[in-house]
Amino acid sequence: MTAVLQIDDVHKWFGSHHVLDGFCLRVDQGEVVGLLGPNGCGKSTVLNIVCKLLTCEAGQVRLLGEPLSKLGYHARGLVGVCTQHTALYPDLLPAENLHFFARLYGLSEKERKERVTELMHFFELENFASTRVGQLSGGWQQRLHLAVSLIHRPKLLVLDEPTSAVDLEARMELWRLIEGLRDSGTTILLTSHHLAEAQRLCSRVALMQSGKVVAEGSVSELLARIPGQAVAKVQSKNNEAIMQRALDLGWQVRQRAGQMRLLLPRDLSLREIVESLEGTQVSAVSVQPVSLEDAYLELLGESAARSEGLSGA
């Protein structure tokens, strides 16, 4: 099957900075692929290359099997883009914004009217039909922004941190709408700093570090790579004692940003954990099943350690 997006061994330099270092990714029809990684790891550069805002110095990007370089302006009709910052015309009404962008994509008048009506309904914008966009709240503006990115029925929807700039309530609503798009078969490439967002929305996740993918798979596949079933976050005045006890119990210990996390081999109750750590001056402890956040920390940490090992060798 031809991938909607196929990125092979892409390299990109900004001056002497090697931003993308052999980046590879495949996105198939109907998939929602999350691209996660720390700031500066090259996520936005990947998206900008896919959207033809940047070119790569080496490697190849294919959309529906065709090299991006050969598609020219046609490529822009295949991709829809929604970024965290809404880019709309505040003096126009929601439907007027949609009509404007539809005309740029060359939709006929009939197609335009149908599509605008359809999107206004899907994104529940009808109640704001006569409100200027500048007077809408941030969450509603972001809904419209998402609708604009779908106006031309793109084959690939690129969402660059789509919920970063909105409040919690609006974020939950946007998640619901993106889930609706996912369930209707829209192919999506998403970047996010909210790991819960990626866990909820993505069928597959690629973890990125220093310009390349270091781990990839479904959320459950990534979770399976953590040496534990649950994570206990522990506070204590005596970290040494906790570490020693955890190691005696065969639990792996991770320390990051002053926080101690114990990877438990199976789901244990709080009571069982507290009893196991008795005598180690624990002041607070919480436990939860492993999440994408743990996989993220574990796998990116592993990759960083490998890189350090290699450079030291």
Binding site: N48, C51, K52, L53, L54, Y73, H74, R76, G77, V79, V81, T83, H85, T86, A87, L88, Y89, P90, D91, L92, E96, F100, F101, R103, L104, Y105, G106, R132
Partner: protein, 258 residues
């Protein structure tokens, strides 16, 4: 890209700009009030004074080309670019198949229509206060067309290179525009300026726009009599558009790499 698609995009951009202008009621009021007030004030001063009455026709032509179209077409274009950058819509447009030429032409067409409305409005007022249009309508139209193209080209240059925020538009226009207006003979005839200023004014394109339109509208001059001003204006228009297109391309490259 098909010409019909390019034209459809051009129309979409022009219509959006005109709709936005229409929706910004306060801006629209100032757009109408500023040149109308100037026309009325200058008209009343000239009409009141017998020795100056003869200069009324030239003053009206100068206000139209030198003040009204300057702020409307040049200021309007700078404001469009600054607003696109400020709202982040320019990078958004770069992700669509919008051709740069369609965007450029869309802005030109919107400014042409606004200029046409301003010409009709101002000359309606001018005719009411006794101004006479002496020359060829066609030649006057050509001068105005070249002036508008020049202003839009300069607007793209200033907007793309200097105006990053809307607030900067007023400052940039005042700093660059007002000296050009004064040296262009918009407010005072060239003859009353000191010799040195007259020499500097000769390289000011606005002087030649003013003199060309005043020549047609106030003195009924023809093509041959105005060939120097028209040639200067034509060359300046070409340079201005080339500079505007170049600046716009540069702006797109800068925004792409962000």
């Amino acid at each position: 890209m098909h010409t019909s698609f390019l034209w459809a995009q051009t129309r979409a951009v022009a219509q959006r700009l005109l709709l936005e202008q229409w929706r910004q009621k306060r801006g629209l009021i100032f757009w109408a009030v500023f040149p109308s007030t100037m026309m009325l004030l200058f008209g009343l001063v000239y009409a009141h004074n017998d020795s100056m009455r003869a200069g009324l026709d030239a003053a009206a032509a100068g206000i139209l080309v030198g003040a009204a179209l300057f702020f409307s077409c040049l200021g309007g274009t700078v404001a469009v670019i600054a607003a696109e950058r400020e709202r982040g819509t320019l990078p958004r447009l770069l992700t669509t198949p919008l051709h740069p030429a369609a965007y450029f032409l869309g802005v030109v067409i919107a400014q042409l229509l606004l200029a046409f409305m301003q010409v009709v409005m101002l000359y309606s007022i001018a005719l009411c206060i006794g101004v006479r249009y002496q020359g060829s309508l066609l030649l006057g139209g050509v001068v105005l067309l070249l002036s508008v193209f020049s202003y839009v080209g300069m607007g793209f240059f200033l907007g793309a290179r200097f105006a990053r925020r809307s607030e900067e538009v007023v400052v940039a226009l005042s700093a660059i525009g007002v000296p050009l207006l004064v040296l262009g003979g918009t407010f005072f005839p060239l003859e009353i300026m000191p010799q040195g200023m007259q020499a500097v004014a000769q390289i000011n394109p606005m002087l030649h726009m003013n003199q060309a339109f005043k020549g047609v509208a106030a003195y009924g001059k023809g093509f041959l009599e105005l060939r120097f001003e028209l040639t200067f204006l034509l060359v300046f228009c070409g340079l201005s558009l080339a500079l505007g297109i170049h600046s716009y391309r540069h702006l797109l490259d800068v925004d792409k790499s962000k």
